[in-house]
Subunit: 187 residues, 2 copies
């Protein structure tokens, strides 16, 4: 039997996206967002939704660029802090001791210590309501060599990304492998 929870933003899993930008003075900032994901294969694009009140929102509009850094489990506290504090009043890199790295292809910084990074050129801005959706064309993906397997593919058991659960507001680790996509459903 199903119960109605009303009109709410509930979906599992949602990602933990650490969005990197430079402000007008060139200060590197990061904020954590869970509203987003891949939205197009060709060109490869990722969407992140931010409230216009955030410091990052103005940075993306001005610079036309952002990065998405994916934290691994051991950085869950830093990722949570990035979503609580505002870059308008705090230097989040200095506060956490993490390192802003300059992107190769876009005018935005990423978190050096995080294992996976997407460098994005701002492609679209969609006003949806409380949130603005920024669609970025992914110009490059960078990954720590230590989380690649022998075939050069990302190894999830080493990368250890984090999931965010709306409504219960908790972070979860990823777990065991359930099967191969585009394969286990064939018969």
């Amino acid at each position: 039997m199903k119960k109605s929870l009303g009109a709410k933003t509930i979906l599992y899993p949602t990602p933990v996206l650490v969005v990197g930008t430079y402000d007008e003075h060139g200060k590197a900032n990061v904020m954590t967002a869970a509203w987003g994901g891949i939205c197009c294969s060709v060109p490869p694009c990722v969407a992140v939704s931010l409230r216009s009140a955030t410091y990052s929102h103005g940075n993306i509009v001005r610079r036309g660029a952002f990065t998405v850094s994916i934290p691994s489990e051991r950085f869950v506290k830093e990722a949570d802090y990035f979503g609580i504090a505002s870059g308008r009043v705090e230097d989040k890199f200095a506060a956490t001791g993490l390192t802003p790295a300059r992107s190769q292809f876009v005018d935005a910084p990423y978190v050096q210590e995080f294992p996976l990074v997407l460098e994005c050129r701002l492609a679209h801005i969609f006003e949806l309501g409380l949130h603005t959706q920024f669609v970025g064309e992914i110009l490059d993906v960078k990954i720590d060599e230590e989380v690649l397997d022998k075939d050069g593919l990302p190894e999830l058991q080493k990368l250890l990304p984090i999931a965010f659960a709306p409504e219960t507001r908790e972070y979860q680790a990823l777990g065991r492998r359930l099967g191969t996509a585009f394969s286990i459903g064939r018969r």
Copy 2:
């Protein structure tokens, strides 16, 4: 040291979204998509990106509605099948024995056996390239009573959603709890 993987759609985790629609004859169809996620809090909205070649794409445009059903682990094979087969030639509900349930608020079916369902009114269509992004306003969330805890909140260890890992094309379970959001990062 980071290695460049090029311009690719790599992000972890991505969700496993089973999109429900009716075709022009009223036949219930479902397809699985990983490109999507929550995109706005007010109004509550979810985005799903589909190729225009899919049967579901035309259904959403015609009916102005879709659902998103979240499968639990035990339905990983069915979810994979829903992403492989086309509703143009197959009746995916009949093939899997799963049950199309009529939504309460929108003109689209959901999967009765899946624990979490979002009923969505089509709000925006954004052409991004190979994929069209459909933004749906979430009019209601329905959840199986068995996966609610004593406070009426979703219990992730009972709901058991699935994550999809691009590039390595594998499904993963969600794992252990890492902490409370908007809390563990405070100091």
